[in-house]
């Protein structure tokens, strides 16, 4: 059944170069996984509220969870464009649930996804380490800062407040969207399921010849 997708799977057969862009299977996997994460996003706001009584703005410490779709799905699929698509799809769950923030969150998610995508692009989509994912998480948090400047006038906070709030957000993004996503991606990879998404490439066969 999978042969139709993984063209050139037969050893010895000429292996066509990987077509550019996302295939339907990439998109569907991205969106389904992101929707699942989006459901977690939805319920994460209660965790967020649990943290807020700890100390003022303590809720920023768990903010990074809202960027995990971008990094986790990219680490699994490893193709350009996946990070933005994942973040938007995860935000779409809020529209599905009829939340008042639905459209606003989708607009935010575009910037957050772009922030993460840009970091992966800077590494030419070839680095999949925990640190790169952490950087991408920070990129996503920068993306979330941009609309805040116009929406929440955060530049008019007292300076210490501004720095405290956004550095906590950046740290949590690096930890949750970065290292946690990396650890999860590795654990999922250990099940062997990602071989469906990244079928053996030409260079793998070339390595066999050596």
């Amino acid at each position: 059944m999978q042969e139709s997708l993984n063209q050139g799977n037969r050893p010895g057969a000429p292996i066509p170069a990987q077509r550019r862009g996302l295939k339907l299977s990439d998109i569907l996997v991205t969106i389904l996984v992101s929707l699942v994460l989006g459901v977690i996003y939805h319920f994460w706001s209660s965790v967020y509220k649990l943290f807020s009584p700890l100390f003022f703005q303590a809720d920023e410490l768990v903010y990074g969870m809202w960027f995990i779709a971008a990094t986790l799905v990219f680490l699994l699929i490893r193709k350009p464009g996946v990070a933005v698509l994942a973040e938007v799809a995860a935000a779409h769950v809020e529209i599905l649930f009829g939340s008042e923030w639905g459209i606003q969150l989708v607009l935010y998610s575009v910037l957050q996804g772009l922030g993460a995508e840009l970091v992966f692009a800077l590494f030419r989509y070839r680095k999949f380490s925990g640190s790169v994912a952490a950087l991408a998480g920070v990129g996503a948090s920068v993306g979330s800062l941009i609309p805040d400047i116009y929406y929440g006038y955060v530049a008019d906070y007292s300076t210490w407040m501004l720095i405290a709030k956004y550095s906590m957000r950046a740290v949590s993004s690096a930890l949750i969207a970065g290292y946690l996503a990396y650890a999860l991606a590795k654990a999922v990879e250990a099940t062997g399921v990602t071989s469906l998404l990244r079928p053996v490439a030409a260079k793998d066969y070339a390595a066999l010849e050596d």
Binding site: M1, S25, I27, I95, E100, M161, L184, V188
Partner: protein
């Protein structure tokens, strides 16, 4: 439950094309985003909340429940700015908390802005089904069908993931799985659920994608659509309603200004 969530009557907003509504709501977002005059912001919040009662298609008391929750939205979005915003005209100081006249008005401005966003977002979300939105996006803005159908298929697959989650939870309970304390234990706990659910989702999505490719859902050629998405006379009506709300808010803020603050930004008032 299902019936409770359905709108009780159909309004112009329901009949307008989802793509047009999406564009209009995004435009309205930008109007609100770049509004720095407190009076205009206040009247926008009022107008769109009223519009929600008129156009959402839900019974008055249901909309009232939602609008009451806007109080919480108002408080949570305005409090940080009120307590920690920049300003010179000191009202109250206690430790790090400095409430100034400027920060107070900027805070309630953000509160009204959030209420405006919330009611504009709800106007869209409550009057548009996801399927209609994707069919309209495919036909009116040429979103490639592979994206739209992937979204719609994934939405159908979500309940299966939920079922799997319940099965996993019961299985772990029967096996007496207990997670350890501390960060290591948390991670083990997350992994116990995340790994099987994620890998199973990937497998299922991949299988469905193979079937969809076989049915040429990934094609880029011309295709017909089960639900044709059209522009009708309700589209100009919806646009007129939104435009009227903004214009009315602007006029009211000129005729009956409550706060007399031209710009709430700190940098704008040196």
């Amino acid at each position: 439950m299902k019936k409770w969530l359905n709108p009780s009557f159909t309004t112009w907003m329901h009949r307008a094309n989802p793509v047009l509504k999406l564009v209009l709501v995004i435009l309205l977002f930008f109007v609100a985003l770049f509004t720095h005059r407190l009076d205009f912001m206040f009247y926008q919040a009022v107008m769109f909340t009223l519009l929600l009662f008129w156009q959402s298609g839900y019974a008055f008391w249901k909309v009232l429940l939602i609008v009451l929750s806007f109080g919480l939205v108002f408080i949570s979005s305005s409090s940080t700015m009120i307590l920690f915003g920049k300003g010179d005209e000191m009202w109250w100081e206690w430790g790090l908390i400095r409430i100034t006249e400027e920060s107070f008005y900027r805070g309630i401005h953000i509160g009204f802005k959030s209420v405006t966003f919330a009611s504009e977002g709800l106007l869209f979300v409550l009057t548009t089904s996801s399927v209609d939105l994707f069919y309209a996006l495919m036909q009116k803005v040429k979103l490639p069908p592979k994206y739209a159908y992937s979204f719609m298929a994934s939405i159908r697959l979500l309940p299966m993931v939920w079922e799997e989650f319940l099965i996993r939870r019961n299985a772990l309970r029967i096996r007496g799985a207990r997670s350890l304390k501390g960060p290591r234990g948390w991670f083990a706990g997350i992994k116990m659920y995340a790994v099987p659910l994620l890998s199973q989702s990937i497998r299922r999505a991949h299988r469905v994608a193979v079937a969809m490719e076989a049915k040429a859902f990934n094609g880029n050629g011309r295709r017909s659509y089960y639900y044709p998405s059209l522009f009708t006379r309700y589209d100009p009506l919806a646009a007129a309603v939104f435009a009227a709300a903004v214009v009315l808010a602007l006029m009211l803020s000129d005729v009956f200004p409550l706060f007399h603050i031209a710009d709430v930004r700190y940098s704008a008032n040196p």
